[in-house]
């Protein structure tokens, strides 16, 4: 199979350089990239139609972009494409937004952080940073002098004009400016400080009466520069950022980074640690889904349901609290195992929680899932087809509600997931209600996983011995896990140092938000909030 793909690539672009690293890596020149991606996406036998990750890297002499593509039918089939330009003054690459919608925001992010502009991307504004930000932070020669970018407390008017660079049919580049909204649009700002944007998302929404005409997503109100900070921290130190990305899947995110480092330096993680990790991961998932459920019901106006959900969540938080001394940010996984062994009553507490939660799931079902108002507000609202889900790279419960089997735990089993039995919840409807039900069903599946593991936690160490200073050998490392919101990925480029050269997190929430303008169009303004609740994104995960 590998040979066939290589042949396909070489047939398309003869001068492509193919290496076999951790993954099959192909380097091409910018002009050929679009063609290659298109061929990979459209071929029948080995269709690579899911863009997992798009990472901008400052490789020193050149500014480049890495694409991780995989097949939506089999997520373990992966190929890495690389391209780059040595023009640091005015770096230009070709956009693949027309092939993958998810590339749009990612390319804008690369522009904001590395200054690479993408030809043919319809909207080339900076994504996280203000338009007047001086410098490109992820470049190695970035000047961090705070005087260049002083804190301003002056409110500025929003400018809804987007620049873009187009390539005309005769190969010329034209820069032009487009208005995002029409002149007489009634625009309201949902966010950045708004009760139900699940954080500091900013949707500039133009309305036609109550109906949403168009959404323009602004992000970066909590862009904290984690990736840049990570470049000057050691691997154990970086771990504490992962908790704070998607704070609701804190433990799962941390698991991903730990696994990535462990695989790179071949650390055998003790069995006991694996068990604790998976149990804690699943508890985290339940915790996250419960919060998603609560937040969504709250968005739909059912405050009481919100309180019920939070009440059940508190029991999980207590277990976390006793295990590792944190409620939300738990700092449990470390490289080589876990930081704390379980406490004496851990198994008892978890086992008491399982039947309790099952009882509550029935209550939720009676209380909200069949409520005629809730049904009217979620069924058939915010529809997303499978193809759209794949193109926007919407994974997790939301992707599975559009009938896309995208559970990393099934496709690329890690840790103990190939030893436990669980179902991947798929629904065909693709609407807000399906996403909502998927979460409740996934709670049930998580309970089932925990049930299988909780009695069999083996004795032994809970953490392997590691060196005091962890250095990753030179190379590129990817690791993907199934976080509560979808696929979470870690990409580390190491140059053999104790610090990563480039570290990138693939956040599931970014894909969820990028799909919002599509699925909200034509719905009511009240549904915009409800759909947001059903997508369940976490903003710090997007902004990083």
């Amino acid at each position: 199979m590998m040979e066939k793909i290589k042949k396909l690539i070489l047939d398309t672009v003869a001068e492509a350089v193919i290496e076999e690293k951790q993954k099959l890596t192909v380097t091409v020149e910018p002009k050929k990239l679009h063609l290659l991606v298109q061929t990979l996406r459209d071929n029948k036998t080995h269709s690579f139609d899911y863009l997992v990750n798009l990472t901008g890297v400052d490789r020193g002499e050149e500014l480049g972009v890495d694409y991780l593509l995989c097949s939506s039918a089999d997520l373990s089939k992966e190929v890495v494409l690389k391209t780059g330009t040595s023009d640091r003054e005015n770096p230009l690459l070709y956009s693949i937004t027309d092939l993958f919608e998810t590339a749009h925001f990612n390319e804008r992010e690369v522009f904001a952080l590395l200054g690479i502009r993408f030809i043919n991307n319809p909207d080339m504004r900076k994504f996280f940073l203000n338009a007047d930000w001086v410098g490109y932070p992820l470049r190695k020669d970035y000047d961090p002098n705070p005087e260049l970018n002083p804190v301003s407390i002056e409110s500025k008017d929003m400018v809804d004009i987007a620049p873009r660079i187009l390539e005309t049919s005769d190969g010329k580049l034209v820069e032009e400016f487009v208005n995002i909204f029409e002149d007489d649009d009634y625009i309201i700002n949902i966010g950045p400080q708004h009760p139900s944007t699940h954080g500091v998302m900013h949707f500039r929404t133009s309305l036609d009466g109550e109906i949403v005409k168009k959404i323009d997503v602004h992000s970066g109100y909590i862009h904290r520069g984690i990736e840049k900070l990570s470049e000057s921290l050691t691997y154990p130190q970086i771990l504490h950022f992962t908790d704070r990305l998607d704070y609701l899947s804190a433990n799962i995110n941390r698991h991903a980074l730990c696994m990535c480092v462990e695989k790179a330096i071949d650390i055998e993680v003790p069995e006991r640690a694996q068990y604790i990790r998976v149990i804690m991961d699943e508890l985290t998932r339940i915790d996250s889904h419960l919060l998603a459920w609560s937040a969504m019901t709250h968005d739909l106006g059912a405050t009481t349901a919100f309180i019920y959900g939070m009440r059940e969540r508190e029991i999980i938080l207590d277990i976390f609290d006793k295990t590792c001394g944190g409620r939300l940010i738990i700092n449990q996984n470390v490289i080589g195992g876990v930081m704390f062994d379980i406490y004496a009553d851990f198994q008892k507490d978890v086992k008491a929680f399982i039947p309790y939660m099952r009882k509550k799931l029935i209550e939720y079902d009676r209380f909200f899932s069949h409520n005629v108002i809730a049904l009217g507000r979620t069924q058939g609202v915010g529809f997303m087809s499978k193809d759209e889900a794949i193109s926007y790279a919407v994974t997790g419960p939301a992707g599975r509600a559009s009938d896309w089997s995208c559970d990393i735990r099934k496709h690329i089993p890690y840790s103990l997931y190939n030893q436990v039995e669980f179902k991947e919840i798929l629904r065909k409807e693709g609407d807000a209600y399906a996403r909502y039900l998927n979460r409740l069903d996934e709670i049930e599946e998580s309970l089932h996983i925990i049930e299988q593991l909780i009695d069999n936690i083996p004795q032994g160490d809970f953490c392997a011995k590691t060196k005091a200073i962890i250095k990753l050998p030179e190379g590129e490392y990817y690791e993907r896990v199934e976080a509560a919101k979808g696929e979470f990925g870690v990409f580390i480029e190491s140059r053999g140092d104790k610090f990563p050269y480039r570290l990138k997190f693939r956040s599931p929430s970014m894909a969820l938000v990028s799909a919002m303008p599509l699925i909200c169009q034509g719905e009511k303004i009240a549904d915009l909030i409800g759909i947001g609740g059903s997508m369940d994104y976490v903003i710090p995960d997007i902004d990083r």
């Binding site: 996280f128 203000n130 932070p137 970018n149 301003s152 409110s155 954080g199 109100y221 409620r327 903003i539």
Partner: protein, 187 residues
């Protein structure tokens, strides 16, 4: 007025931290001199104000979730009469800054603060709001919300547990109880 007159249900005054700040505050106020009748009325007003703090949650990240926990059944912020979270800054008394504030957010938080009606208070919840916390060295993070707006109470933690937040809110109640509305010193 003396510090021991400030009564908070459940915690004796001497168990509170940072009592010297309030002592200094009282001394400062007393230097201005206020007559007794006015100060009795003040006490009533401050009783009302301190027991009816309606928060506006400026939640940007993790700490916001802990606030939600605090508002939910297990901890129940309503016991303090603070469950009336107002989403409109005009109607709120207390801004709880829960989360990292970055450059892009700075003008907005200032604006929301300006939109609040007097008397208004700010509580910085968690390491990010106090000092930038884990991201203090970042290019895009503001090192403490007190660089933009005045902060009354700092609640450390990352994130602080709901009980910590309640403790901070009681500290704030103590501060409000010391203030004078009819006297000279107004915020």
């Amino acid at each position: 007025m003396e510090l021991k007159d400030i009564h908070i249900k459940g915690i004796p005054t001497e168990d509170f931290k940072d009592n010297e700040y309030l002592e200094n505050y009282i001394k400062e106020l007393e230097a201005n001199g206020v007559n007794v009748i006015l100060s009795k009325v003040d006490e009533l007003i401050n009783w009302g104000r301190s027991n009816s703090v309606w928060p506006l949650i400026y939640a940007t990240s993790c700490c916001g979730i802990e606030f939600m926990s605090a508002a939910a059944a297990h901890h129940d912020i309503a016991r303090f009469g603070m469950e009336v979270t107002r989403n409109s800054p005009r109607q709120a008394d207390l801004m709880i800054v829960a989360g990292t504030i970055v450059h892009k957010m700075a003008p907005l938080i200032k604006r929301v603060y300006d939109q609040m009606a007097e008397p208004k208070y700010v509580l910085a919840m968690g390491a990010c709001a106090i000092s930038g916390g884990p991201f203090v060295n970042s290019y895009h993070v503001i090192k403490g919300v007190d660089e933009i707006i005045p902060v009354d109470v700092y609640v450390p933690g990352c994130p602080p547990r709901p009980e910590s937040l309640f403790y901070g809110l009681m500290q704030l109640q103590r501060k409000i109880k010391v203030e004078q509305f009819l006297g000279h010193k107004q915020r």
